[in-house]
C-alpha cells in the first residue's frame, strides 16, 4: 500500500496540520528546517541510519549517517558564525554535487542564514547577477569554481567572505578562507537559531521573460509541504534508498534532494557525475535504489539506449518512479513500463511553488502524458487568459493557477515587490504555464505562457541571453527563443544580426556559443545560431520573439499588424 493510500479521500479531508503534526513542527518553539533534516531524526533514535550515500564520477563512495549530518552541519553553522555571518545573511553555495554542498545547506539554515544555492555550471556573469541582486555576504565554493568568483569579486561590495572547502591555506588568494568540514573539530552541541515559521530560509533564482533573474524567497515552514509531498508523492518511507538526480542549484535539488527526503529520514543517494546510461543503471543496481526521481530529458536519453541496456542490470530494486522539470510525454511513460515494469509518474511544480502541486500519485491511474491531479491542500484550476476567471469546460486551454496559501509558496521575489504582485490575478497565483483539465480532473500541459525557454527542465530567460549576446563584439542585435528538441524539449536558438565588418561563418558561430556558455551557462548557450540581416520588430521597436518562436515550432504566426518590417 502506498503512503497516500486513497487520493480522493486524502484530497477531500486534507489539512496541512496533518503534516505539521507528523513532523511535530513547532514543538519547543523549533521551526528551523535544519533541525528537522538532521537533529530530529537523531532524536527519534535513527542517528546511525545512513542519510547520504555519495558517489563521485570515478566510483569513489562516501557515506554519512544522520548523526554525521547533524554534527557536520553544526560544524558549518559554527564556522559561519565564527567568521561573522549573521542570521538573515545570504550565503551562497556554489559547488558541484559533493557532500559539503548538502551539509552546508543544512548548516546555513541552522545558524539562521538564508541559503542561496547556485548551479555550479553558471558562468561569471550569471553568477554576478544573482550575487549582486541578493547582496550575498558569503560564498562557499571549491577551488574548481573559485576562479569565477575571483574575477567578479571586485564588483560585489556586499560579498565579504569567500570560503573554499578544498584548498590549503597556502593556496588561498587574499581575502579567501579555507574550510575543511571533515577535518574541523566536531561540534556535538550547537544552539540552532530559533527562527519563526515565516522567516526566510532558501533563495532560489529563476528566469523570466523580461529583466534579470528573480530570487524566489521561501520560508522555514515550507518544510510542511515538502515533507508531506515527499512522503505521499515520492512515496518514500524510512526503509527506502532514494535517488533524486537534480542538482541543488535548482529547486528540485533542494526541496526533494535535501529537505523532503531528510525530513522523512530516508537514505538518499547522490551521483556526482555527468549523464551516462550505463553508469546510471550501475548506480541503481549497486545501491539498490528503490525510489527514483528524475527528469524527462534523462528518461529520453535512456530511451535512446533502449530496453536492452536496462536488461544488462538487475534493477528489480526499483519500486516507484517519478519525473519532474518538463512535461513527460506519453512515450516516456509507456517506455518505462516496458523497461522497468512500472510507469514514471509525472509531477508538476516550479521554483515559486516550492513543492509538488499537480502530480500522478502512486496507486492512482496514470494517464500517459497527463500531469495528474492537484495535491491535497492545493486548489488548482485553469483561468481564461483574458478574464482570469476559472474555465469550467473540460479540455479548454487556460492558464494554470493556484489558490495562494500552501506552506511552501514563495513569499517574495527578492526586493522586487512589483514583479511578485504581478503574479497574482483575481486571488489566484498564475504559474505562467497553460494546460487543460479533462472531465476526470486530470491536467494536460500545453506550454509556457511567455517566452521563457524550458531546456532540459531548466528555465532560461531570453532577456538574459540577449543582453549577454550584445556584449559580444560582433553582435548588433539578437533574439533568443526556444526551438523544439527531441531530448531537451527545447533548446536555445539565437537569431543574430551582425555589426558591419563581421562575416557570418562557423568560426563566429563557435565564438558566440562559447562566449555565452562561459558568461552565462551551458544551458543558455545557443545550440543553433541563425545569422540574419535584421530582426522582426514592432513599430515601437520591440523585437517580436513570438514570431521567431512560432516559425521554429511550425505554428501560425498570428497577428502581425504591428510589425515594422517583414
Amino acid at each position: 500500500m502506498s503512503n497516500i493510500d486513497s487520493y480522493e479521500e486524502r484530497y477531500s479531508n486534507f489539512d496541512w496540520k496533518i503534516s505539521a503534526e507528523e513532523l511535530e513542527y513547532g514543538k519547543n518553539g523549533m521551526y528551523n528546517i535544519g533541525f528537522y533534516c538532521s537533529d530530529r531524526i537523531v532524536e527519534k533514535g535513527f542517528g546511525d541510519r545512513t542519510a547520504l550515500i555519495w558517489q563521485g564520477f570515478k566510483g569513489d563512495v562516501k557515506e554519512f549517517t544522520y548523526n554525521d549530518i547533524r554534527i557536520y552541519s553544526n560544524v558549518v553553522a559554527k564556522f559561519l558564525i565564527d567568521k561573522g555571518v549573521k542570521s538573515g545573511d545570504r550565503v551562497c553555495i556554489f559547488m558541484d554535487r559533493i557532500p559539503e554542498l548538502y551539509i552546508s545547506f543544512v548548516g546555513i539554515l541552522k545558524m539562521g542564514g538564508i541559503t542561496q544555492p547556485l548551479f555550479s555550471a553558471f558562468g561569471e556573469e550569471a553568477l554576478f547577477t544573482r550575487l549582486e541582486d541578493a547582496k550575498t555576504k558569503a560564498v562557499i565554493t571549491t577551488k574548481k569554481h573559485a576562479g569565477k568568483i575571483r574575477r567578479i569579486r571586485d564588483r560585489l561590495p556586499a560579498l565579504e567572505k569567500v570560503i573554499i572547502v578544498d584548498v590549503e591555506e597556502q593556496a588561498l588568494k587574499p581575502g579567501e578562507i579555507s574550510f575543511n568540514m571533515e577535518k574541523s573539530t566536531p561540534v556535538e552541541n550547537f544552539e540552532i537559531e530559533k527562527v519563526g515559521p515565516e522567516v526566510p530560509s532558501v533563495l532560489h533564482y529563476t528566469s523570466g521573460t523580461t529583466g534579470k533573474p528573480k530570487g524566489a524567497l521561501h520560508v522555514h515552514s515550507s518544510i510542511i509541504a515538502q515533507y508531506i509531498t515527499a512522503k505521499w508523492v515520492l512515496d518514500i518511507t524510512s526503509g527506502d534508498i532514494y535517488w533524486c538526480t537534480a542538482d541543488p542549484g535548482w529547486v528540485t535539488g533542494t526541496s526533494y534532494g535535501i529537505i523532503g527526503p531528510w525530513a522523512c529520514g530516508v537514505t538518499q543517494t547522490v551521483l556526482d557525475s555527468g549523464f551516462n546510461t550505463e553508469k546510471w543503471y550501475q548506480f541503481i543496481e549497486k545501491h539498490k535504489i528503490t525510489v527514483w526521481y528524475t527528469a524527462p530529458t534523462a528518461i529520453r536519453l535512456l530511451m535512446k539506449d533502449g530496453t536492452s541496456a536496462v536488461q544488462k542490470y538487475d534493477l528489480s530494486c526499483l519500486r516507484h518512479l517519478i519525473s519532474v522539470g518538463e512535461p513527460l510525454n506519453a512515450e516516456g511513460v509507456i517506455w518505462s513500463e516496458q523497461a522497468f515494469g512500472k510507469p514514471f509518474h509525472d509531477s508538476y511544480w516550479q521554483t515559486e511553488t516550492g513543492s509538488i502541486v499537480i502530480t500522478n500519485y502512486p496507486g492512482m491511474k496514470v494517464k500517459p502524458g497527463s500531469m495528474g491531479k492537484p495535491f491535497p491542500g492545493i486548489t488548482a484550476t485553469v483561468l481564461d487568459q483574458k478574464t482570469f476567471g476559472p474555465i469550467t469546460t473540460p479540455g479548454k486551454v487556460g492558464l494554470i493557477a493556484l489558490k495562494p496559501g500552501w506552506p511552501s509558496m514563495f513569499r517574495a521575489y527578492w526586493e522586487n515587490k512589483e514583479m511578485y504582485d504581478s503574479k497574482f490575478k483575481n486571488g489566484w497565483y498564475i504559474c505562467g504555464d497553460r494546460s487543460s483539465i479533462d472531465s476526470e480532473g486530470y491536467f494536460w500541459f500545453v506550454g509556457r505562457d511567455d517566452d521563457v525557454i524550458n531546456t532540459g527542465g531548466h528555465l532560461v530567460g531570453p532577456f538574459e541571453i540577449e543582453s549577454a549576446l550584445l556584449e559580444h563584439e560582433a553582435v548588433a542585435e539578437s533574439a533568443a527563443v526556444g526551438k523544439p528538441d527531441a531530448v531537451n524539449m527545447e533548446v536555445v536558438k539565437a537569431f543574430v544580426a551582425l555589426k558591419p565588418g563581421y562575416e557570418a561563418n562557423a568560426d563566429l558561430e563557435l565564438s558566440i556559443m562559447n562566449f555565452i556558455r562561459k558568461k552565462l551557462s551551458p544551458l543558455a548557450m545557443p545550440q543553433e545560431i541563425e545569422f540574419v540581416e535584421s530582426l522582426p520588430k514592432t513599430r515601437s521597436g520591440k523585437i517580436m520573439r513570438r514570431l521567431l518562436r512560432a516559425k521554429e515550432w511550425g505554428q501560425e504566426i498570428g497577428d502581425t499588424s504591428t510589425l515594422e518590417n517583414d
Partner: protein, 84 residues
C-alpha cells in the same frame, strides 16, 4: 597525424572547458562528459568545433555522450568521417 589531432582536441578542451588555473590533467583517456568537464549542453560547442575544424557534419544520432566521453572516443568517431 593522429597525435596531432589528439593534441588539437586536448588543447581545445583545456582552453575552452577548464578554468585557467585548473590543476586537472586531460589526456586522451580522461572522461570528458561523465566527469563533468564537458556537460551534455556544452557538447554541442565541441561538436561544432570538430565540424568546423575537419569540415565534416556529425549527425545528431552519432553525437552521443558516449562518443564524446574521451578524446580517444572522439578520434574513433572522427575515423568514421575519414579524419585520421
Amino acid at each position: 597525424m593522429n597525435q596531432d589531432i589528439k593534441n588539437l582536441i586536448i588543447d581545445y578542451v583545456k582552453k575552452e572547458y577548464l578554468e585557467e588555473d585548473a590543476e586537472q590533467e586531460v589526456n586522451e583517456t580522461t572522461p570528458l562528459i561523465s566527469s563533468g568537464i564537458v556537460d551534455s549542453f556544452s557538447m554541442v560547442s565541441l561538436k561544432t568545433f570538430l565540424e568546423k575544424k575537419f569540415n565534416i557534419k556529425i549527425p545528431d544520432e552519432k553525437a552521443t555522450p558516449e562518443a564524446f566521453d574521451s578524446v580517444n572516443n572522439i578520434i574513433n568517431l572522427l575515423k568514421e568521417f575519414n579524419v585520421t
